[in-house]
């Protein structure tokens, strides 16, 4: 999947990245790409990799994009809760972070919230996004005041990558891999987030889709 992204990226680069398509074609592209559930409860195993160290946790996440709400519990593999929060309409209404994480300072729950939003929110490009090129798939680009988010879709219309840039520098990238259909919906079985700014990587394996 990532190889296809790379190939798509190379094609786009070689083609000059300027081949914007007519509006009618763009509308067709928008129709072809998949949209994803705005509300789900997912159980993942998550491997955090940072500076040659890795740490695996279990995470249950309920998200509701329209209301900007997220519930998260994160446990180590022996069952101890490391972090838990509840976000309602963008505000924390409950937040727990085990002290050994908290002692490192920073807003750990806020960082997790941001990564969850990057992964599960905004998986469909804005209607004003530019369509630069279609090859085996499509690429949509949203630009806004020095920020740029690129959405890569494969030929089936599945989102396979999101990349976010600030002032031309990549900040994070998310790879959605190995889509499988469950209960009429498509779910990536593996999601990889690379945070280039802070140098860490998350690998989430989907274990269960919950009600």
């Amino acid at each position: 999947m990532r190889f296809r992204c790379v190939v798509l990226g190379i094609i786009i680069f070689l083609s000059g990245c300027a081949a914007q398509v007519p509006l009618a074609v763009k509308a067709q592209y928008l129709q072809e790409i998949k949209s994803y559930p705005a509300h789900e409860t997912l159980f993942n195993s998550i491997v955090l990799k940072y500076k040659w160290q890795s740490f695996t946790v279990m995470g249950i996440t309920t998200f509701d994009e329209p209301t900007d709400s997220i519930d998260v519990s994160c446990l180590n593999l022996a069952g101890i809760k490391l972090m838990e929060f509840s976000l309602k309409r963008g505000q924390f209404v409950k937040k727990f972070v085990i002290p050994w994480i908290g002692k490192y300072g920073g807003d750990a729950a806020g960082a997790v919230r941001d990564d969850i939003k990057r992964i599960y929110f905004n998986r469909f490009p804005d209607k004003n996004a530019a369509v630069l090129r279609m090859g085996q798939g499509s690429l949509f680009v949203e630009r806004n005041a020095g920020f740029e988010t690129r959405y890569f879709f494969d030929r089936q219309g599945q989102l396979i990558q999101k990349r976010h840039y600030e002032k031309g520098k990549i900040i994070w990238a998310i790879f959605y891999e190995n889509y499988k259909e469950r209960q009429g919906k498509f779910y990536p079985q593996k999601i990889i987030l690379k945070n280039h700014r802070w140098g860490y990587k998350l690998e989430a394996d989907l274990k269960e889709i919950r009600k």
């Binding site: 409860t41 159980f43 195993s45 491997v47 990799k49 160290q53 890795s54 740490f55 695996t56 279990m58 249950i60 309920t62 519930d71 998260v72 519990s73 446990l75 180590n76 593999l77 022996a78 069952g79 101890i80 809760k81 490391l82 838990e84 509840s86 409950k94 727990f96 085990i98 002290p99 050994w100 994480i101 690998e203 394996d205 274990k207 269960e208 919950r210 009600k211």
Partner: protein
Amino acid sequence: MYKKIIFFIGGLFFSCSIFAQGNKNAVDSLKEVEKNNIAITTLSADFIQTKHLSLFQEPIVSRGKIYLKKPGLFAWRSTSPIKYNMVIKGMAIAQWDEDSKALQKISLNSNPAFSTAIDQMKLWFYGDYAKLSDNYEISVTSENPLTFKFVPHQDFFTAKVIDSMSVVFNSEKSYLKKISIAEKSGDTMEIDFSAVTINPKLGEKVWEAASAV
């Protein structure tokens, strides 16, 4: 982090102590269990760990096996939902999981808090109940099966996160059958033990975290 793992182990694996001044009947019953436990040198058992989180309706259910060998070996091997092995060997802890495929080793010498929790864990798994101190109010809630309830004293650090623990012993009153922990947060955790084998012959690979058994 490992202090917290320890804390977890301490809580999960029964880092509770008998309130020595409390229910005399309970203390006597625990001594009886301790006496019955002496003949156990090795043990293996299946476990089902069920964690109910207050934020979610469905629990997280983990399954696997535990192994112990007196005086200093303990292994926790989850098979689902994620393969995860934790082996305690003397003053060292090793962890491995299938997703990271990384083997992590921790020395208890440099983690005194972890060491304390492991000591508590050993008390429970090895049946050395006479060492239990007086940090909990203890009572017998059932004679058959023999069931104890532990409520941490308010000045004990465990009281900050745990409301109470319930420990059920098997019909022979020799080993743990079930642990239930009620947390202040509203979460609960239960661990059921089954297929308990007393004094089995355990291979060396059981004590290697990165090895399959």
